[in-house]
Amino acid sequence: MDGTANSRAEQAVLHYVAAARPVQRLISATLTQVAGFALLLLTSRSRVSLAEGALAGAQEAAMRAAEEVRALAVPDIAAHHHHHLRGAAETLLQACAAASDQVRARSSDQGDALSSRLRASSDHLRTTASLLPGFELVDFGQACCAMHAPKRLLRDAP
């Protein structure tokens, strides 16, 4: 591959990262929300009504995330990453459906389906974080117990 082709490939990856990062954040936040909802469901059904609105919102967000993942332009080098991002979105949608089934007591599996879909989505998501830089799942910049390195402000840029 010559220098120009290299540069084009790098640009394609950079565009992919820029477009995929917000989608991954949306999946991560929605996964946490659905998992939190599942936790309420499994530990105290009486509290579930408080969070049903949150589940409806999470389902919409999961659908939006799945559509946005499908719409990404994926360079060859990011195909593996995209495979896992798509997997995270699809299993998250399945988790939302399983959560709805649990709420309506249409499922008698004591949360097996819900738990396994959440696990699958979490594993896919974690793989996306390991394949390309910039996809970290925990925002340590907001965490209390990690050293807070000074960030350069925009106005300091050369």
Binding site: A29, G36, L39, C144, C145
Partner: protein, 292 residues
């Protein structure tokens, strides 16, 4: 003689942590060491942890390179210093849902976990907000909540609603709502088993980072100064600190901040060959010292 043996076990550390995060106010007073630690409580047929530590496999390298967390060792190595394995742990009291306190649920396969229901309820609510509100859920990892779901499915996740006495024999938990997090809790060990205990220890989670939060920096004019980070209010942090202090009759050393490096000089301690501190808070009858 004490009912429980109690150790604070360091498992990693940030060597240079901004003091202004540990305590609100001193913006230009440099850094301190911030140990990461959990508490091991052993006795009455129970092996109890306060918090789990975090999962190094998931993001240890990121923490090490970008955020200065060093010298991580997993619970198998750390607990072995007190003759305990992760499989021995029967109960874990989770003070709050940050990565370094509940990030290793999966490493304790036989334990029951206790967390405040408010911590979970309000997290679910905060996650419905738009991304510009993500400060409210910072420090959380989706994988931790998924693992909590798996523990709940196995009947090993118990949600506590507010203050509760004798969650475990002689051990009470207390909700400190809207403080460091939405549903932070602190733990009281009445180590003589008595309701009006004269041998009480309080484990503060992240409600305080240092004894200085309880005393201030001026010995001539003591004051409670809250930590530098809260999703709730400084008011609530101050009054939670006040409750903890009053509960032990004002004896500051009995309110244990696990991130306090000076625990090693306040109590008997030793440095392991891995460079980690073992701090011995109490020793039950028949238990051998792990710092001698």
């Amino acid at each position: 003689m004490a009912d429980y043996s109690i150790w604070v076990l360091e498992y990693a550390a940030v060597e240079k942590f901004p003091f202004s995060v540990m305590m609100y106010g001193p913006q230009h007073q440099g850094t301190r060491k911030l140990p990461y630690a959990y508490v091991l409580i052993k006795g009455k047929g129970e092996t109890i942890l306060i918090d789990t530590g975090y999962d190094h496999v998931a993001y240890g390298e990121q923490l090490a390179t970008a955020y200065g967390v060093s010298n991580y060792h997993g619970p198998r190595e750390v607990l072995a210093e007190c003759g305990v394995s992760p499989e021995d742990v029967t109960s874990v009291l989770i003070t709050h849902a940050h990565f370094d306190h509940m990030g290793a649920i999966h490493l304790f396969p036989n334990a029951k976990f206790y967390v405040q229901k408010t911590e979970l309820d309000k997290w679910v609510w905060a996650l419905t907000l738009n991304p510009e509100y993500r400060f409210l859920t910072g420090g959380g990892d989706p994988a931790d909540i998924v693992r909590a779901v798996e523990a709940a499915k196995e009947g090993r996740m118990i949600c506590i609603d507010g203050d509760q006495e004798d969650v475990l024999p002689g051990i009470d938990v207390h909700l400190a709502a809207d403080t460091h997090t939405y549903g932070s809790m602190y733990i009281t060990v009445r180590n003589d088993g008595s309701r009006e205990s004269e041998d009480k220890w309080i484990f503060a989670g992240d409600l305080i980072y240092t004894y200085d939060n309880l005393t201030g920096l001026d010995p001539e004019a003591p004051q409670i100064v809250p930590i530098g980070l809260a999703v709730g209010s400084q008011h609530n942090l101050i009054f939670a600190s006040d409750r903890m202090m009053k509960s032990v009759g004002g004896e500051v050393r009995r309110v244990i901040p696990v991130h306090e490096d000076r625990l090693r000089t306040t109590f008997p301690s030793r440095l392991t060959d891995k460079g980690l501190q073992v701090v011995e808070i109490a020793l039950a009858k028949g238990e051998q010292s792990r710092v001698a």
